[in-house]
């Protein structure tokens, strides 16, 4: 990012910087970046702002493009980027969703307090690690037939109610009830199916995890009560997505759209932003396939949930309970209404954060706001927030999705070994299971930004408000 471009930035508040359309050639809307001075400075050290300006050149982009305070350089879109496209003249871009379609987070809360974990935390994490495949492992206990996979792709979590792996209450507490109606299983290629057919109920690798948490601090008592959170209560945070199936759907459609952009007269500064008009056959094909992959991801997190409930019951007793607080995506394109206008909102590493009065906020949380989860890193806090009505106009109802990476994987490994990360976590009383020391070093707390600072910006900017802070006590790393 050049100094000349940065010189055009206008501070709109202590937490919001705006780059006008004159900042770079081809920009159709301004770029707005939520960051305090420290995070703003850090974003200037990679290509995240430049990538956001590229997004602002996409046809049919509405109002402004946004970077959340955890934003960092990605490919095409920055991670932490939000852009909404008009249905009539806008485009859909697989790069604006990313390869891990509907990567997301869900929080479950138990009936137990931290005292109930005494002497049982180690066996609990051990059993979770044996029961939930992580890394690149497939699920040996659940191989889907073609017909079963079709139903997962079409119905998402809803299909798992029939299989006894989900409850109607789970669906009520999942974004879009765990099923996007636009799903078209026929738009999912055979290659994508081959990559995903044995991966349901697995967390994968990279920054994915299952974490045992304890509620450490409460900021908003009414919201915490509505979410079922109380001080010292034990919970479970699950972070995973659509696995290889979603990756292949993205690969297939970046290729497809790259081949037709010229036909639609679309010229882009970055081929990874490959896109097609929303109403074109290619755009519709992607929406059908992406929605099917999103359904697969919700079913994946629900399957992990079903297994985790069995583990909790086995180790902690049948009254442990694990009620789903909420499940929310952070890599997705959704059709949403803003001021009577239907838009396709791309969230790449950004969480939907609808407020108390939004009709898509679950009934139980009306008047409170949709739960938003911001995982920190293995050794730092994670946060529960509540969406705000103000976020609708401030960021197309979006907030951040995590702390955001600060170090590359190579730098993270040079800074500390996996063994050292393990020792540091264990010194804090955190039980860790990870198949690879290298991955532990890559994903250690030192590789991420300060989650407290990121969440503070989200709160101060009014995108979501702080409800509770969680402390990890057990980590199963992907």
């Amino acid at each position: 990012m050049s100094d000349a471009m940065l010189a055009t930035a206008i501070p709109r508040s202590p937490w919001l910087h705006e780059l006008p359309v004159s900042s770079a050639p081809g920009m159709r809307v301004p770029a707005r970046i939520f960051a305090d001075d420290v995070l703003w400075e850090r974003m200037q050290q990679d290509r995240s702002i430049e990538q956001l300006l590229n997004v602002a050149t996409l046809p049919g982009v509405e109002e402004a493009v946004y970077a959340m305070p955890d934003a960092h350089e990605g490919y095409g879109f920055p991670v932490g980027g939000v852009a909404a496209m008009r249905m009539d003249d806008g485009v859909v871009s697989p790069g604006g969703v990313g390869y891990d379609i509907n990567c997301g987070v869900r929080l479950l809360i138990s009936e137990l307090s931290q005292n109930d974990l005494k002497g049982r935390l180690e066996p609990l994490v051990h059993d979770l690690s044996r029961s939930i495949p992580s890394g690149a492992y497939a699920n040996p206990h659940l191989r889907l037939s073609t017909a079963e996979l079709d139903r997962v792709l079409q119905e998402g979590s809803r299909y798992l109610v029939e299989r006894g792996m989900a409850t109607p209450d789970d669906l009520e507490h999942t974004e879009a009830a765990g099923s996007l109606g636009e799903a078209d299983p026929l738009a999912v290629s055979s290659k994508a199916r081959e990559r995903g057919h044995d991966q349901l109920g697995t967390i994968g690798s990279g920054n994915h995890f299952v974490e045992v948490e304890v509620v450490e601090e409460i900021y908003d008592l009414a919201a915490a009560e509505a979410f079922g959170l109380a001080l010292g209560r034990v919970g479970l945070l699950i972070h995973t997505g659509s696995r290889g199936l979603g990756h292949q759907v993205c690969t297939d459609h970046v290729r497809l759209m790259g081949g037709v952009m010229a036909r639609y007269g679309i010229v882009l500064p970055d081929r990874q932003l490959a896109c097609a008009p929303l109403r074109s056959p290619e755009g519709q094909h992607y929406l059908g396939a992406m929605s099917a992959a999103a359904n697969f991801a919700w079913a994946n997190r629900q399957t992990v949930t079903a297994v985790a409930r069995q583990v909790f019951a086995r180790v902690l007793g049948p009254t442990a309970g694990l009620r789903l607080v909420y499940d929310v995506a952070h890599n997705i394109a959704k059709l949403e209404e803003y001021g009577g206008q239907r838009l396709c909102v791309h969230r790449k590493g950004a969480t939907r954060a609808f407020g108390p009065s939004h009709r898509d906020t679950p009934r139980a949380y009306r008047g409170i706001g949709q739960p938003v989860f911001i995982p920190g890193s293995m050794g730092t806090a994670s946060y529960v927030l509540a969406g705000t009505d103000a976020a609708l106009s401030a960021s197309f109802g979006s907030a951040c999705h995590g702390a955001g990476r600060a170090l590359s994987r190579h730098m993270a490994k040079r800074a500390v070994t996996g063994g050292e990360v393990r020792e540091q976590l264990e010194a804090k009383g955190i039980v860790v299971r990870c198949h690879s020391n290298a991955e532990l070093a890559e994903e250690g707390p030192h590789a991420y930004k300060d989650v407290d600072r990121v969440v503070s910006v989200v709160h101060q900017a009014g995108l979501a408000r702080k409800v509770a802070r969680l402390r990890p006590v057990g980590v199963l790393k992907g």
């Binding site: 350089e73 890394g135 690149a136 492992y137 690798s205 290889g244 970046v254 170090l407 590359s408």
Partner: protein
């Protein structure tokens, strides 16, 4: 840069013009930046496959003897061809747990690549690499050497 020991199985390549095919990893805050160099297009594609293999890290034990297969990809130019090649290898690693260990280039043209690859099947898929991306993709030629750079989503 990591220098490869050139295997005998590269029989059809022009070794005289190929002293140092090599690959390395550049910095990227979220993903992996793979940089490859070679004197021929074929060397670049093979070296890219070696870089991918290095990212997979330690593999499970092979489940059977090495086997040969022919991999063929097409694209509109050599940069796009590199993406297609890597994405095909990623797909084979994840869906069949098949990892190539040596290569014989049959045809390496700017828009078409045909490779006979010898590989092993391992018990479980290697650590996940999601895809080769187009962002920042380049495939240059300077002074008779090709250099390509591609960002892998990990």
């Amino acid at each position: 840069m990591r220098r490869s020991v050139i295997p005998k199985t590269w029989g059809r390549m022009t070794m005289a013009s190929c002293p140092v095919p090599e690959h390395d990893f550049g910095e990227h805050v979220g993903e992996e930046r793979l940089i490859v160099r070679g004197a021929t297009l074929g060397q670049v594609f093979v070296e890219a496959a070696r870089g991918l293999r290095e990212l997979y890290g330690e593999l499970d034990q092979p489940t059977d003897d090495p086997s040969w297969r022919t991999i063929e990809v097409d694209a509109e130019d050599r940069a796009a061809l590199l993406i297609e090649w890597l994405n095909e290898l990623i797909y084979l690693a994840e869906s069949e747990h098949w990892i190539p260990i040596s290569f014989m280039i049959d045809a390496a043209l700017p828009t078409r690549l045909r490779v006979h690859a010898r590989g092993v099947r391992v018990a479980s898929a290697p650590s996940q690499i999601k895809a080769a991306t187009w962002h920042g993709l380049r495939f240059d030629c300077h002074d008779g050497m090709f250099e390509a750079e591609v960002i892998l989503d990990v």
